[in-house]
């Protein structure tokens, strides 16, 4: 079943993503909490399992979630700059997921009131992949995605 999910996701279909997430069944918000480490979410290998472990509602694909300072091609997958900003009111958390990494979830940031829903960090990517920016705002989930290509650099040695 997991295998099938991944294959569906590889096709990059938005409709499939939404269907999967809906099927996974979101837990109530608040599962992302400071100073606890959500092992189940970080251990998950599929998008459905990751989101299930994170908990929450059905994510809406949203243009209010945006990548910035995020190149489309990474010269080296060891360090890929990612910026995510949300203009969804009452944004509470931002997560970064990398579809083709061994474990999809890279990072979750809790955004308390007064902190701008804008995060810049750097992640590792095993290969060219879709990257998802997931936002929880007022208990609801929103998502945007972007493909980042990872190139081989240099002299082959």
């Amino acid at each position: 079943m997991n295998r099938g999910r991944r294959d569906a996701l590889h096709k990059g279909s938005r409709a499939t993503l939404l269907a999967l997430v809906a099927a996974a069944g979101w837990l109530p918000s608040g599962a992302v909490r400071a100073q606890a480490w959500n092992k189940a979410a970080f251990d998950a290998h599929t998008l459905g399992d990751t989101m299930k472990a994170l908990g929450g509602g059905e994510p809406t694909q949203s243009k209010d979630v945006a990548f910035f300072q995020t190149p489309e091609i990474a010269e080296n997958g060891a360090v890929v700059p990612i910026g995510v900003s949300s203009s969804v009111p009452k944004t509470e958390a931002i997560a970064i997921l990398i579809e083709k990494n061994p474990n999809m979830l890279a990072a979750v940031f809790d955004i308390p009131p007064g902190t701008e829903p804008t995060i810049t960090t750097r992640v590792k990517m095993a290969q060219t992949s879709n990257v998802y920016a997931l936002v929880r705002a007022d208990g609801k989930y929103y998502v945007a995605s972007k493909e980042i290509k990872v190139t081989l650099g240099g002299c082959g040695g």
């Binding site: 190139t151 081989l152 650099g153 002299c155 082959g156 040695g157």
Partner: protein
């Protein structure tokens, strides 16, 4: 009067040159000695790699400048004589293997496994198959090499020979002498020749 000034200038230059620094030849000698004491053997990369053959010595001496015609001719003749064509007379192999060899950058570095792969690393310097975007530009683009020149035997011989010893065709070329220096095997050179010369190769499609 102009001549007198020139003579004075030349004299000053000559005197200056004598007094301050050693000759070019002396410096080359000092550099060679310094190199010997500045490197250590590491794995397959032994110190004898610092010893130059005549081609390397002459190309170093001219320091990237154009060679005089007679010197270039002499070098090309010397290197042309080293090319060994396959005994079976067949110059092309499998372009699929050739593509792998062209992509492979490892081989002969002290960090490489001596029993591991040795490639031609052609994409480091040349455009070949259009699918590979990460190609270098030290050498000319080889895209559509055979298609533009024809797939005839003479061109095949040139390609095989050029990979075997490029110094035979262009003295002090930047390209390694893959056959002459034992970097690639006869079969590997055949496969690379196919990559450029097989009509089915992505290079020609």
């Amino acid at each position: 009067m102009r001549n007198a000034t020139l003579a004075a200038a030349l004299l000053a230059f000559a005197v200056g040159a004598c007094v301050t620094t050693p000759s070019d030849q002396e410096l080359a000698g000092k550099a060679a000695v310094m190199l010997k004491s500045s490197f250590k053997a590491n794995g397959q990369a032994t110190l004898d790699r610092l010893d130059q053959d005549e081609t390397q010595r002459i190309c170093s001496e001219f320091a990237g400048k154009a060679l005089p015609g007679d010197v270039a001719q002499k070098l090309e003749k010397l290197n042309l004589a080293t090319i060994k064509y396959p005994a079976d007379g067949k110059l092309t192999g499998d372009w699929r293997n050739g593509e792998k060899i062209a992509q492979e950058g490892r081989g002969k570095q002290f960090s490489d496994d001596p029993s591991g792969p040795v490639g031609g690393n052609c994409y480091a310097c040349h455009q070949l198959a259009p699918q590979e975007l990460a190609y270098g530009t030290i050498g000319p683009s080889l895209y559509q090499f055979g298609k533009l020149r024809g797939y005839g035997m003479e061109t095949q011989r040139y390609v095989y020979g050029k990979i075997y010893n490029p110094e035979a065709y262009a003295a002090c070329s930047n390209m390694p002498r893959f056959g002459h220096n034992g970097i690639l095997s006869e079969q590997q050179i055949k496969d690379l020749t196919a990559l450029l010369m097989d009509p089915q190769s992505p290079v020609n499609r």
